[in-house]
Structures are given as structure tokens and as C-alpha cells.
Symmetry: C2
Subunit: 212 residues, 2 copies
Amino acid sequence: MSPASNEPSATAPTRRTELLGIAAGLFAEKGFKNTTVRDIAEAAGILSGSLYHHFDSKESMVDEILSTFQEELFAAYDAVLASDVDARTKIDRAVRLSFEAIDQHPHEVAIFQNDAGYLGGFERFGYLAERNAQSREVWVTLLTEGVGSGVLRHDLDIELTYRFIRDTVWVAVKWYRPGGRHSHVEVADQYLTILLDGISTDPQPPSPRERP
Amino acid sequence: MSPASNEPSATAPTRRTELLGIAAGLFAEKGFKNTTVRDIAEAAGILSGSLYHHFDSKESMVDEILSTFQEELFAAYDAVLASDVDARTKIDRAVRLSFEAIDQHPHEVAIFQNDAGYLGGFERFGYLAERNAQSREVWVTLLTEGVGSGVLRHDLDIELTYRFIRDTVWVAVKWYRPGGRHSHVEVADQYLTILLDGISTDPQPPSPRERP
DNA sequence: GCGTCGACCAAACAAGTGCTTGGTAGGCTA
DNA sequence: TAGCCTACCAAGCACTTGTTTGGTCGACGC
């Protein structure tokens, strides 16, 4: 890489991180394969060849974008898993965490959602599949814990419920826009209301019940 | 859905429809842009140029695949909307209809899910956006009807709920495999249980309550 | 036999792709 | 002034892409 890159981009936005941001936006919008290095360069106001002064390849750009994001995200998940609260609260926090990630890193989430399948075919991106498995374990653990402690219905199909939650949470990146009509907190509220009142053994209506 | 269409090649699988099927499978698996005409030709055992004896272009292949499927799907939705049952039943039927579509036309659904954004940019595929709006109207109508008649909670954000349902249903195409562990009916059952017991004003636990 | 037709081949084309090369301009430091 | 460094340009390379063209082969009807 570069000689002085041991502590990169903590405060000052270098040209490198700036270019990564531009690339992330285009990858998210048009897909990785469908975004050309000339697209990225044009958006940055330079020529395509000049990108290779900063990066080895187009692949290493997504690589850096995705791996950085995933590291941050899973550290947050691990913190939730390790926290000392009941399963229902953990699920609540994990869901809010995800919507917060969509709010703060919409491009990264979109790229992962759209291109993980394609990229996962390369050895270089093997960590994507690992992260996927790790995510599954987080949710299955939480759901199993919830069923075991009685806060979740015992007739749930854990696997299906996991997929239901995972999909519903992450697809929101397709329509959610930071700064739009709803904040990510509002979206999480609504989603949790729908989700929990469906899978909880003790339904908790969000406001005083009107119709008994 | 309908047993068979009347006009084009209802019974005998012509070489043309055979090629369309092969193309659909590849488009669904790798994405439209990421599938080359040489991929399709190779899978069919011919050379890429020979495809142009059957089709005008690669675009017209997806066009035919998607438009045919959409026509069939929305005819089914219209039938549900027009049926003379309460809103909850209509929602139930619409959801089951969607999972049935995923079961019977997984390739078409996957292509629409993954590539509608990209394809929608071309005038030729303007009908995709129209169909999307039409789908939104179907669900918003059903949800509004449900809230109005009191079978759905009155504090629902119709727009958000519509998106949750739409996303949850269609995203299942990413993992559902016809002939796999769960039938599409079982999956629909589980989803409806989670969904309805969450948004219904009258929560119905699926089995006698164990913990009060 | 003759003509026609559907299905396909062989070869090429122009445009677009990721990436490489050699070079340049300006700023910083010694 | 000299040397180095970051950021970039200009031009091109090898390859892939969708598509076109002219031709071949066998089946079928007359």
C-alpha cells in the first residue's frame, strides 16, 4: 500500500478516502460490475488511469469499502450479544443497530445486499460468507435464547424467523433515505412493533388498547 | 394462477421458449448485465451468434421474460382485490399468491428483484415502474380497507407497513428453493402468523397460550 | 430434383472494459 | 538548488462485450 498509512484517515479526509466514498456511492447505485472505473474517475473529476495511483484494482476498492464497514458492524453486534440484558431487549437493540447502520452507511449496506452474491464467488471475498454465517449465529442465538426464556413463542421456526428478520431489516436500504420523511429511529420503532407483537408470547400494544 | 395461456405455444415447448428458460435461469443466478450472450449460448449448446436467429437482442429476452410473468401475476392480484371477502382474508390470499409466484416462477421473480432498478432506466422497461406503482396501490388499498374495517390496528403507518410486507414477501426468493425443506405453503403460513399476529387488533396465538 | 425454411456455424466488428506505462506539474523539505 | 513526493494526464494494450454477416446443413412439400 502506501508508505505512511499506519494510521489512516482518522481526522482529515484524504484524497484516498474521498475517492472511496465516490466509488461507494456509484457501486451502491449501479452495482459493482455495472460501474466502470471511468465512471468513478469522471465523478471524481480525474481520468480513469489516475485511480490506479491510489488503488491496486477496482476490486480492492470494494474490498476496502466492505471490510471496513463489516468490521465496525460486527463489533457492534458482538457488544449487543455480550450485554447483560434479556433476550427481548437484545433483539430490540440488534434491530435498532441495523437500522442505524442503514442510516449511517447506506452505500455500504446496499453494496453488500446487491453484490455479495457475485463478489462471494472470489476467494478474496470469502470473508463475506463468513460474516453472513456469523450474522446468522447472532440471530439464531438471540431467538433461541428468547424462546428458551419464554419471552418468544415456542412454536417459532427459528430458521425461518431469522431469515424473516434479516431480510426485512436489510432490504429497507432499498427505500430508506437518510434525512427523509422518517428517521431511522421511527422506522425501527414501527418495525419492532410489528415484529415483536407478532412473535412475543406477551403482546404489548404500543398504545392503550382501543378494541379489546 | 391460470393453467395455461391461449395464444403462443401453449403446449409444445419450442426452441424459442426453451432458450428463454435457459436465459431466465442465468439472469436470475448472475444478474442481467453480468450474464453474457455467450453464457446463454453455451448453456444452450450453441454459439452466441445463433441466439440472434431467435431474438432481436439480449434486452428483448428479459423483456419477454418479465412482461409475460408480470401480466400473469397482476391478473391474479386483481382477482384478489375484486373478490368479495374481508380485508384480512384478502391480505392472506395476496401473501399466499406471492409465495406461490416465487415457487412457480423463481427466476422471473429474482430477475425482477435484482435488475428492475437497472432495467427501469430504459424507456423500454417503463412498465416495470408502472407495475410497481400498481402493486403499491393493491397493498395500500388492502391495508387501508383493513384499518377502516377495524381488523387491523389503527396506529399502523400504512406506507411503512406496505414496504415491510412487500419486502418480506419478495425477498424470500433469495433463499427459497422449490422442492426444498419447506413448501411455499408452509413458508406462507409462518410468515402470515408473524405478520398478522403483529398487525391484527385481535391477536390470535397459534396454540393455547402457555405463559400468561 | 427443386425451393424453402428453421436452426445453426464461423468469423468478424465496433464499442467498451480493467489496467499499464511513461511522463508532468506543483508543493514540500533539506 | 536539488531531490522527493503526491496527484494527476495522455495514450495505449489486451481482452470482453453485444451484435452482424454470409454461409451450411438437414427436413419437408411439391
